[in-house]
Symmetry: D2
């Protein structure tokens, strides 16, 4: 019977200094001793990637991608070599592998390369020989034989991809938080850690403000059905499992309340109610890389309508510029923006079979004197835009109303 | 007519931070603009190599060579990528090359590899295409396809080897001092920078206390007749040329006074005057890696003799241990050691044709009340061991006596 | 009615970089906004104190205490100034205070000074004026007007002392773990975070292997009845309260299983059974700063006895040296030491009123094939020394047997 | 007879790491051993001040001056404590002094405070007791008892002020270059180090592009007649003395050729030739902190004139904005700017008694095909604005023409 295989990915905070690297090595050694095979994926130490990017900016305003990737990947090389040394000292045979040596073939899109093939033959041999491969995260070699970088957060992608390719049993993402919570504990003192959540729920939560794990890695895990375990490299206590929805899973109607204060609202007023106007607006916004999230179009009144949408605050200037130009062209009456909004969302797989959950949400908010400005829904999520200074009340009251207080 | 080709090597202090990297890029760009082709060799930034070695020591007492070389070479990768970025900004097409990409094939002796072959084909093509290759110093790839490191000071070796292989016109070693001096300016205020010195003189000077350039790189340069220019990356003024001896060179009788306080003296007394005793002593010292420098054996008296020699202070304990064991075996009467010694040397190609230089040296020292404890000579050098607290007087008086005061 | 006053202490990991400092400022601002007054105590960023101590060691083997304290306290000055800036940006009026400015008067024992007086008048005024004082941790000014440092972990002491002097409502110790656990989660996957624990239990746990909070700060808190809240600055979820024992507290018979692998065992055999022998042995061990923990003396047999005790592994050499010298003097037959031991302890306030708990512990260990080599007890703790390679089994089985699995 | 007193100031590069600090301590110890009293002034290590300013910027956009000065001065505290430790190890009794302890009283202008009083009583006592005071550069205490910072380059000011107040014999400014040169050695390979230069010449050179020493410290030295010795902390060779002009000084007609590429030219064309127009222009430029350097007004033609002036490139936008607004008001015909200019200057005390030097300069430039666009002169300096791409030719040809080639 084959031994179980775990992919253990350690982020920057988890390997920030020699003491932490030794502690991580201790944990890997313990896992190995208990009978699991392990492949380790490691990010650069602490804030080193940020520091390297800053160095590049200090040195030059022109940053050729080939050189940038040569530079950035030095961070993971350091971390993986050091972790191998620490593992040797714990008596664990370990070997470092660059992205190239681990078999990650990417396109030639420097600083944000995509994986086009993955051939982890050397890793398989190392595992069979009883060794622990330590792979530099977010790295590859391009089809042009240059060093490439998969982008920020790419170490999670490396780990999930390896778990898929090596048919691992689970992918453990070690980080500085102890898991995923029913709400942000800074806002809701009674927030609880969630033991298990489905891919779909996790995706909705990540998209509506839950900070970890990153949306992209959840997408990969969902596509390949790779079980994730989001957990702490500081307390080492069990964290949150992200898995396929199982019949046995307790179907909470609402699993979590998320919120997001990073967006602003733009409203184009008095838009002539003609076909194609909205399409043209959002096409032009897309063309200038404005990331539109929620969209609401009010009922037409006397042939004109108002279109409101939310964008990241950082995209607000380019977004309103597009709108103002277009408003002039199509004869809309005005463009206004609003920075003081926030979005609260409830997420839960049980919402599918429980009608009236959205209505309850609206009632709870109204009962707390909170006005709803925009609404959007999916099968397992309902989101409301409210005033930013009421967002903490909104999150707190929904957490209580849906029975999530611990 | 081919363009002249310069190899420019920049040490750690020269590229210690973004400001310095930009200044180095500026200098390379200026050199290129004036019509020279350039190949750059770059060390890790500032004290980064020390820092990486320290990190390894903090993480583990066991340091596998393969992982150590993966770790250390990350330093030069950073420096070379950053310098390329800075060159791009100055309008100079530049490309970074790892040791492997530059064609350095080494043996498998990790952390201190030797070059076994050098095939700089990619560099040649880049030069022909008008680009500036920026090569990571002290790196190679082993015959087993692993990353290797040439050891501390290996960047000088990389530069000299490339100058030889690419038939460069000169190898410029940029550093934080402005050249080679007639004596240590801290000791002799009137010390002057030397404009030109022969390989032989430079070797003797490096071996007797002159701190830069490193002995090993002078040996390489001498063997391959690679002209060195030791100069400052801070003032950028012309420094000291190290070249073959030319008839046109002004043959100063004494070119420089060097000194060294890093050695200790060991004396084995009452050694039976039998053949093979000395040979056995120095063989056993060599076997425990004790680096013996000067040796003096006194005239035998009544069938016994005294043998004195100098060793680095760091080798003193292992050196006296060997001597004491051997003294007991062969019936010598005692072993004493003396830490408070120093060596002063005069070096000059003109000594070959000027008898009496050594005698003058002894007279000058005697005239200043300085007792000579040991003497050794080569064709172009005479060294005396004196009391450590008299070394500054010795250097100062010889510098004046041989007409070196500026 | 006065506003509640919280002392919030942030350790090095919590303020390791600008992003973290901004997150901490956000939390302090939120606390203030909710109506609490806050005094912040801050440690040096990340590993800066270690780095400064290392710099000192790199520069000199001689480290005058006055200069060392000038050096080290630079770390907290940076952190407190930066945190004040971040608070200003969040709209919170904040002011930095050195130890001296905050009123910490210490003795003249540099690098490990003791507080002799605390006069936080300036802090009181700042609080009354609605400002947030940010105090550099572990600092003071000596009765000789020199800068002093309270030693490693001294920031906790600063916080507890301020909470006492300012009559604060609670002292929050923010760290990188989320609280205190029923066992080390690395060993026991089912370990749970403890919501509330008494000072006495916490002291026993800290003394027998629980890593945080530091024993010294628990002692201070217990003496002054300062309520501690040990919690995470990463997840911000509620952590573990350390308080006086209350009747309402659920009296678990066993609150936690702790273990410790940092000690070694020394046995002096064949000791003549005379009065004063043991006293002399432990006096001499104390004289050379050997920190003896558990002591067991076997029943005398034919007028001789064996004395065993545990010491930190780092004290083993000096401990056995003392024993060997003394054994020769008093006619003991031998001294042996054993590095491969470990100690497992159960701690719980409920043990006082539940006889038989120790017996249950011994049965559980025996039932798992684990031999007990030494035993020691207090009113609320029982500790057993076992073979080091059985310690994980011991902890796991006791955690289950005493109903602690979550 | 009192012992000579030297003030030795070491800049950031000179104390960048432990190895350098030990080398500096070695030099101070040697100076002391030779019979001089020494007061040391030390900057923060390497780029630490930059790093602290950057940290502040990363943490907050709002930077209260009081906190900024608390932050920045932490850098010098570290350096001075470490240097004291290194001196202790060399057997030199040394004591660190903050700006406040050294007696620097400043105004309350945080981040750029001015010295209002200097009472170095504690330093005097330390010197008399045979100790070496090590003073943190650029620091003081305000009349409001807060920590203050004298601004970038303030360590030179600290050193010069102490040399004046303590009646020191000379102020040695140790840096990473070996002195002041007859031209920038990057441009003129034959540039030579100047042995001695007068305060007046040095001021003109610093103002026209010579990078070190900073203009402000030369002004202080000139006002207080403090002899400066600008020299290298890397080679330790004698550098350049900046002193009062002495009759014995060889009066070179031209001492140095300086150049500056950091300025841009602005021209206001068709200005009505009325009194007060120019005054108004330069008043308004001054009001927005535009630093005007050279000014040329062409001969009026038909009642209109052109006014040209140079400003730092960084001031160009605000400068042209003012000009354009004013041009509209007064009826000038246009405003143009030119970034591609550079200024070359010749400086020499001998110019005062040698008419025709300026004419020679113009002939040399003309003879090399270099067009002169603007001219300005002082008693000992003549400057010409030329095209930026001809500046190196200009400097090179003037250096040769005035006999400066070494």
């Amino acid at each position: 019977m084959p031994r179980p295989l775990l992919i253990q990915k350690f982020g920057g905070t988890s390997v920030a200094d020699p003491e932490r690297i030794r502690e991580v090595a201790d944990h890997v050694a313990r896992t190995k001793r208990r009978g699991d095979d392990v492949v380790v994926v490691v990010s650069a130490m602490g804030k080193e990637t940020d520091e390297l990017i800053r160095l590049a900016g200090d040195v030059s305003e022109v940053v050729p991608g080939r050189e940038m990737d040569m530079l950035i990947t030095a961070g993971e090389r350091k971390a993986m070599a050091l972790l191998c040394m620490a593992l040797h000292e714990k008596g664990v045979a370990a070997e470092s592998y660059t992205g190239s040596q681990a078999g990650f073939i990417t396109d030639t899109n420097h600083t944000n390369a995509k994986i086009v093939d993955l051939r982890p033959d050397r890793l398989r041999k190392a595992i069979e020989a009883g060794r622990v491969p330590v792979v530099g995260g977010a790295q590859g070699v391009s089809t042009d034989h240059d060093v490439t970088f998969l982008g920020r957060g790419g170490s999670d992608t490396t780990a999930v991809a390896l778990c898929h390719a090596l048919e691992g049993d689970a992918c453990e993402l070690y980080t500085d938080v102890s898991g995923v919570f029913t709400a942000d504990p800074r806002v809701v003192a009674a927030a609880r850690r969630i033991k298990q959540v489905s891919f779909d729920e996790m995706l909705e939560m990540a998209a509506t403000g839950c900070p970890k794990p990153a949306t992209r890695s959840v997408e990969f895990a969902r596509r390949w059905r790779v079980k994730l375990h989001v957990r702490s490299a500081f307390t080492w206590e069990p964290g949150t499992w992200v898995t396929e929805e199982e019949p046995s899973m307790e179907q909470a109607i609402v699993s979590a309340v998320t919120h997001d204060v990073s967006e602003a609202k733009v409203t184009v007023s008095g838009v002539p109610d003609r076909p194609g106007i909205a399409a043209r607006l959002f096409r032009e916004l897309a063309d200038v890389d404005v990331n539109v999230d929620m969209i609401v179009q009010n009922v037409s009144d006397h042939g004109v309508t108002d279109i409101s949408f939310t964008v990241p605050k950082s995209d607000l200037v380019s977004g309103t510029t597009v709108c103002e130009r277009l408003a002039a062209e199509i004869g809309a009456t005005g463009v206004t923006s609003d920075l003081d909004i926030a979005r609260v969302s409830i997420v839960g797989a049980g919402m599918k079979s429980n009608p009236g959950v959205a209505a309850t949400m609206f009632e709870v908010l109204a009962g707390n004197g909170i006005n709803i400005e925009m609404i959007s829904t999916s099968a397992i999520r309902t989101s409301c835009v409210v005033r930013e200074d009421q967002i903490e009340d909104a999150v707190q009251s929904l957490h209580t109303a849906f029975g999530l207080d611990g």
